[in-house]
Structures are given as structure tokens and as C-alpha cells.
């Protein structure tokens, strides 16, 4: 049994992305296989060097880079969404795997959920 949590909402404007991270870290903390997929405007969570101090929020870049250490199996990003938002390999935080086909990613997991 493995769970895929999907983030399709962009960073900072809503809380769904942060709450999705909390879900995936909780699964990992209880030794449940879990992976994250960023797609649509959600891929913008993965851009390097976000600096949300001026809007009174915290960056999730550190949390994302610590994900493998906490047992999160994979951080996936939809290739077409990355292209749409100009996210090449050099703009992406480390540890992200590009995924070509949403159906394949979803079929590899027994559970698939959004945070909101």
C-alpha cells in the first residue's frame, strides 16, 4: 500500500500545498510508503530560492530537501507543467524526479489524495 499526495495549487496564496506536505510527512513518520506529485501551478512550490519573508510566510524549500531523510519515497513533478512555468533542471530544488505521464504515476500507488 502506498499513497500519492498531489499538490496542484500554487504556493503562498492558499494553504493546501503546506497541508499536503504535512500529510506526506505524517505518512512517512508512521513508516507508510508515501510520495508527492506536483502538477499544474503546484510545480511552483519546487522553484529554488523562494524568499517569502516579505509576505510573512516561511519557505518550504528546507522541508522539501529533508523529505528523503524523513522517509518520503519520491518527489515527482509533472514535466509539461514544469515546461509551462519555465522550470528547467537548474531552477528546481534538488531531489525532484520528472514524470511524463500522470496516469502511470497514479497507477503506481494504491491511494491517491489531495489536501483540499
Amino acid at each position: 500500500m502506498s499513497t500519492l499526495i498531489i499538490v496542484d495549487q500554487p504556493p503562498y496564496g492558499t494553504w493546501a500545498g503546506r497541508e499536503a506536505l504535512d500529510m506526506v510527512f505524517s505518512l512517512a513518520a508512521f513508516d507508510q510508503p508515501a510520495a508527492l506529485l506536483f502538477t499544474g501551478a503546484g510545480v511552483n512550490w519546487l522553484r529554488k530560492q523562494q524568499a517569502p519573508d516579505a509576505i510573512g510566510q516561511k519557505s518550504v524549500e528546507k522541508n522539501l530537501s529533508a523529505a528523503p531523510m524523513f522517509g518520503v519515497e519520491e518527489i515527482l513533478a509533472d514535466t509539461a507543467s514544469c515546461e509551462r512555468f519555465g522550470l528547467g533542471p537548474e531552477q528546481l530544488v534538488s531531489g525532484v524526479t520528472l514524470a511524463e505521464n500522470l496516469q502511470d504515476v497514479m497507477n503506481a500507488h494504491s491511494n491517491v489524495a489531495f489536501a483540499g
Binding site: 515527482l76 524526479t97 505521464n101 500522470l102 496516469q103 502511470d104 504515476v105 497514479m106 489531495f114
Partner: protein, 96 residues
């Protein structure tokens, strides 16, 4: 990360209105063996001429009645008892 097992039949429960980014993503993710159920705002797809729905698609009757879409015949309607049966039949369920 390769899809090993052949497509696991999935029940997709979609509540976003047509035009919402997740509405489009859901339609792309549906496989031939899957079942789609339109709930809440998603039942507006029955009236939306810009939307093409998959063959295996049902809409929640309560939501269709609420929005006065009962004369739209693009899909059949189901009640909550039938939705419960569909969730029991499918081991994989995605709420969009």
C-alpha cells in the same frame, strides 16, 4: 517509477466546476476502465457545451436537481445509495 500493474480500475469523484484546473486534470487522468461520478459543482458539465465527458460517467441526482439540470441527458444520474455501491466496488477511489 514505472506502471507495473495494468490499469487498476478507479472511481473518480469530481466536484470542481468545468473550467477549474482540477476539472481538466481529472478528465485527462481517466482511463478507459475507470468510472467517473460528477458531484456538486461538477454536474454543471452536463450543460457545458465546451466539455466532452467520458462514456462511464454518472452525475449525482441531488446535485443535478438542485441546479435544475434534470433535462440534460448527457449522463445518467445516481443517488447516494448507488454512490456507496460504487465506492464498495472500487478499491481505488480519487476525490478530485
Amino acid at each position: 517509477m514505472t506502471s507495473t500493474q495494468p490499469a487498476n480500475p478507479t472511481l473518480h469523484i469530481l466536484n470542481k466546476p468545468p473550467g477549474h484546473p482540477r476539472f481538466e486534470t481529472c478528465l485527462q487522468a481517466i482511463q478507459d476502465c475507470d468510472q467517473l461520478v460528477l458531484t456538486e459543482n461538477a454536474v454543471l458539465a452536463l450543460a457545458d457545451r465546451s466539455v466532452t465527458l467520458p462514456a462511464a460517467c454518472k452525475a449525482m441526482k441531488a446535485d443535478v436537481d438542485a441546479r435544475a439540470l434534470n433535462e440534460q441527458t448527457r449522463t445518467g444520474t445516481i443517488d447516494y445509495a448507488e454512490l456507496v455501491r460504487l465506492t464498495a466496488k472500487h478499491s481505488r477511489i480519487i476525490s478530485w
